[in-house]
């Protein structure tokens, strides 16, 4: 087990820079997720940790050891590949035993260790099967067992669930978490699925275009996204460009362009809602579930009149699209069986001043 330190790492393929200015510290025993859309550099970073790529610049350390240019076979990491990469000419047992054979473990110990790990992934009955005879979920567990049996310092998971169907995915998610807790192993998990990232991770790093935008716990990432990319990548969010009009003791006043007019909104002057030390353009962000909706005109701050454009029924939740002149707002309501909102109806929405966050707009900059 080890901590990982990624220090000013850059990776370029020819002229294309896949990862840039990357600084990360992953703690011992942590479940850490690289999250981002495809081509964002998350897999490249994982492969640099595994040793399949060497960084163009910067240093990677496991604990105190400099691993930057150590070849993959000398890193003692266990990797689970997206397509599992099971050896097709070997049985389940031989696949799992491979890493131990390389390490010249004695036959007796090898057998016990393989059987032990196969029991942990609940495949002890399948040890003599050819891997092609296994289902996707079983192959996934063989890949996990093969990576775990060598007692790696770090477990690397490259989108391990992306080839499974939805039900199996849920099952394997808890399976992976269970094994990770049991082995208390430092784990890096690469995914583009925000739900996986939020539900499994101790901490998440959000990537886009080779740059890490934010590192934080799932609730930090969701509740306090660092910028509009993180905000929009994780969960649903309403984002509008804003300008700051004036800053007062209690409130910050911002103006949003609504149709041809500009509408002033009040925001709490609190570090959570307003982080003033930024020079870039600003966005107003608010989660759909934070918006309040009224069927009658109501008094209060930040109230806007609009019209329901669309109602989507999801069972526990109802999604509304509300048009406020030029702006289209997404609003989520819990289904309390007393909503009678129909599309075309006039409604009044309130953007609570403690729920609005003014964040930097980077999506336009980074291309």
């Amino acid at each position: 087990m080890a901590s990982i330190k990624i220090d000013h790492v850059q990776k370029a393929f020819g002229k294309v820079i896949a990862v840039d200015h990357l600084n990360l510290e992953i703690k011992d025993g942590e479940f850490f997720t690289f999250l981002g859309p495809s081509g964002c550099g998350k897999t490249t970073t994982l492969r640099m940790i595994a040793g399949f790529y060497y960084p163009t610049k910067g240093i990677i350390r496991f604990g105190e050891k400099d691993m930057t240019r150590v070849p993959p076979e000398k890193r003692n990491t266990g990797m689970v590949f997206q397509n599992y990469a099971l050896f097709p000419h070997m049985t389940v047992f031989e696949n799992v035993a491979f890493g131990l054979r390389v390490r010249k473990i004695s036959t007796n110990e090898l057998k016990t260790r393989v059987q032990d790990v196969l029991r942990k992934v609940r495949l002890e009955k399948y040890s003599d099967r050819q891997v092609s005879q296994l289902s996707g979920g079983q192959q996934q567990r063989v890949a996990l067992a093969r990576a775990l049996v060598i007692e790696p310092e770090i477990l690397l998971l490259d989108e391990p669930l992306s080839n499974l169907d939805a039900k199996l995915r849920d099952e394997m998610r808890s399976e992976i978490l269970r094994l990770q807790k049991e082995y208390k192993i430092t784990t890096i998990y690469v995914t583009h699925d925000q739900a996986e990232a939020l539900s499994m991770s101790d901490r998440i790093a959000v990537f886009n275009f080779g740059v890490c935008h934010q590192v934080g716990t799932p609730s930090e990432i969701y509740n306090q996204p660092a910028n509009d990319f993180v905000a929009s990548f994780i969960g649903e969010i309403n984002l509008f460009p804003v300008k700051v009009d004036r800053v007062e003791q209690e409130h910050v006043f911002v103006s949003v362009q609504v149709g041809s007019k500009s509408k002033e909104l009040a925001v709490h002057n609190h570090p959570y809602n307003f982080n003033p030390d930024t020079k870039s353009d600003l966005s107003l962000s608010i989660r759909p579930e934070a918006i309040k909706i009224f069927e009658k005109q109501t008094d209060g701050t930040n109230i806007l009149k609009g019209k329901i454009e669309e109602v989507e029924f999801f069972g526990s939740v109802i999604n509304l699209s509300v048009k406020v002149e030029g702006l289209l707002l997404q609003v989520n309501l819990l289904n309390n069986r007393s909503n009678h909102l129909k599309s075309g109806a006039d409604v009044w929405v309130q953007l609570p001043e403690d729920q609005i966050r003014i964040i930097p707009a980077v999506s336009g900059d980074v291309t």
């Binding site: 040793g51 060497y54 993959p72 076979e73 590949f81 990469a85 491979f98 390490r103």
Partner: protein
């Protein structure tokens, strides 16, 4: 130095591969080119002027004949192969799968043996014309093959298979939903065929056409044995060499090479331009059953006749091999049958020696092909390096060059000592034939290995290294076992082709080291048909065994091993 140890390793593997390719592929080709520039008055293009001048009509005539025969071969093969591919892949009728596997039988006939069979079947004293003559009490044989028609018939018989195979595999790769989509949009059967199905097949048809064209251009056995005196370029090279006109032979080689390589380049360009590969997986065959009983039995009848025609050459060779030499002289038909020829083959050391020679020569060449092919293919598929295209082209050159040219190239390169032969003259020694066979089959083994390596996901190698295995361990325990079936099927095919190799053998063999194909020629000259046929049967059996092994144990279809 180079920091990245993977790059260093790539270079380490690349050096021997490049050395072999430069020494035995590039250098001999260049050597031939320089030879063609030699004249009595120093270095010039005078030989080329002579080639194209009106006075030397024979050369131009040979070039024209080669092109003419090749074009006709393409047409005839296409007219047989494409309809057959459609009938066997789109319609279901009794015996379909038997007929469709019989359709590839010509590939188990080595070209020299095939030509021999056709001579005995349809030639002047052939069994079929004489049988018809006797049956109908005719004065003379009703027909005999020879000259252009003879070459064409042999080409059609052996080369339609390329059309049949490539078009069949293309038909099976067409997603049925594409045609269904066209029907759904209101297109008629006719329209669907010409607007959807046929355009999807054009890449396969063009590929097969070019392949057949190139093979016909290189064809040696058929014009050599069947069409006495009919001048084609590959044969002219041989005659020039026999007559000692080495510069002329070199010039002819260069011109034949240019035509062939131009076609190869065109083929590569065309294949890259049109990519109709479809992403859909697991396409089921959709054959429509022939319901009309008359049609059904007509098809079966045609199938049976087709199979008889296809298998007659094999049967003839078998029959001849059972006729002891000296028992069939003035009679129209052989009358004595026994296993004398096979007994002699096994017991008489003089008769056994050519077979032994061929097996040893082919074994040495193929062992080289195996090692070289695996390393080269690994580099080409799994490693990145500058100049990969160059290596790729060098690998493909022996495929584009007619066998006669490869033979000439090696003569020019190794009839004098140089560093690539470690200061020895190779021509006239034992080693020139294994070298020729090796060069001839570089592309076959590299390409068949490429095919399996491309299937192997990079992550398999990475997984092994991630688990702590070094590269060599990974290669030995993971990569090799996985790719071995595909590699071996290509290598075995190279082996049997080397055993039967004729055009390079006839240019390079030494008296003390005659391979089987040369001995077949000698036996034919001495009218020992039986012994020649027995040699032929051994080759047929070898090929059949190899195809069977590839199919049964390596799961490689015969049609895949050819393309």
């Amino acid at each position: 130095m180079i920091k990245n140890r993977d790059t260093r390793f790539t270079i380490l593997l690349l050096i021997p591969v490049l050395l072999v390719l430069v020494a035995y592929v590039l250098y001999p080709s260049l050597r031939t080119f320089f030879e063609s520039l030699q004249t009595e008055h120093g270095t010039s293009f005078a030989n080329y002027q002579d080639f194209f001048s009106q006075e030397s009509k024979t050369n131009l005539e040979a070039l024209w004949n080669s092109v003419y025969i090749s074009l006709l071969s393409v047409l005839v093969s296409a007219f047989i192969g494409i309809p057959l591919a459609f009938i066997f892949n789109r319609y279901d009728f009794p015996g379909r799968s038997f007929f469709s596997s019989a359709a590839i039988m010509p590939i188990v006939l080595p070209s020299l043996v095939g030509v021999m069979a056709f001579m005995f079947l349809y030639g002047e004293t052939g069994l079929i014309p004489n049988a018809i003559k006797d049956l109908f009490g005719l004065e003379k044989v009703p027909f005999k093959i020879g000259g252009v028609s003879g070459i064409l018939i042999v080409h059609a018989y052996t080369m339609y298979v390329y059309f049949y195979m490539t078009v069949s595999s293309a038909i099976n790769k067409i997603d049925p939903s594409l045609e269904e989509a066209a029907y759904n949009l209101g297109a008629s059967r006719f329209k669907v065929f010409w607007k959807v199905t046929f355009p999807l097949l054009t890449p396969a048809i063009v590929a097969a056409s070019l392949l057949v064209f190139m093979i016909s251009m290189a064809s040696f056995s058929a014009p050599f044995l069947l069409a006495g005196g009919y001048r084609v370029l590959s044969l002219q090279i041989y005659f020039s060499k026999i007559n000692g006109d080495m510069e002329v032979a070199a010039t002819q080689s260069v011109i034949l090479s240019i035509v062939s390589i131009a076609f190869l380049l065109f083929m590569r360009w065309y294949q890259n331009r049109k990519d109709y590969r479809m992403a859909t997986k697991g396409i089921g065959a959709h054959r429509s059953e022939v319901k009309n009983p008359v049609m059904k039995w007509i098809m079966v009848l045609i199938g049976i006749i087709g199979v008889i025609i296809l298998l007659l050459p094999h049967f003839t060779i078998l029959l001849l091999s059972l006729v002891p030499d000296g028992t069939w002289t003035w009679q129209t038909y052989p009358s004595v049958f026994n296993f004398e020829n096979y007994r002699l083959l096994l017991q008489d050391p003089n008769i056994f020696k050519p077979l032994k020679n061929s097996l040893i020569l082919a074994f040495i060449a193929t062992a080289g092909n195996l090692v070289f092919g695996v390393v080269t293919s690994y580099l080409l598929v799994k490693r990145k390096f500058i100049g990969k295209n160059f290596v790729d082209i060098l690998v493909m050159i022996p495929w584009a060059l007619p066998a006669t040219v490869i033979g000439m190239n090696l003569i020019f390169a190794f009839n004098e000592p140089n560093i690539f032969s470690f200061g020895n003259i190779l021509v006239g020694t034992f080693w020139i034939l294994p070298l020729a066979y090796f060069v001839r089959h570089i592309p076959l083994v590299v390409r068949s290995t490429n095919a399996v390596l491309e299937q192997l996901d990079d992550s398999i190698e990475e997984a092994s290294r991630n688990l702590g295995a070094r590269w060599f361990y990974t290669f030995r325990r993971v990569i090799l076992p996985i790719i071995m079936p595909g590699v071996l099927s290509g290598t075995l095919l190279a082996f049997v082709e080397s055993v039967g190799e004729f055009p390079t053998s006839v240019l390079l063999y030494t008296i003390s080291n005659r391979p089987i194909s040369i001995e077949i020629m000698n036996q034919l000259r001495m009218f020992n048909m039986g012994q020649a046929a027995a040699y032929g049967m051994i080759q047929i059996a070898l090929i059949a065994v190899v195809l069977f092994i590839s199919n049964k144990f390596f799961g490689v279809k015969a049609e895949q091993s050819l393309s």
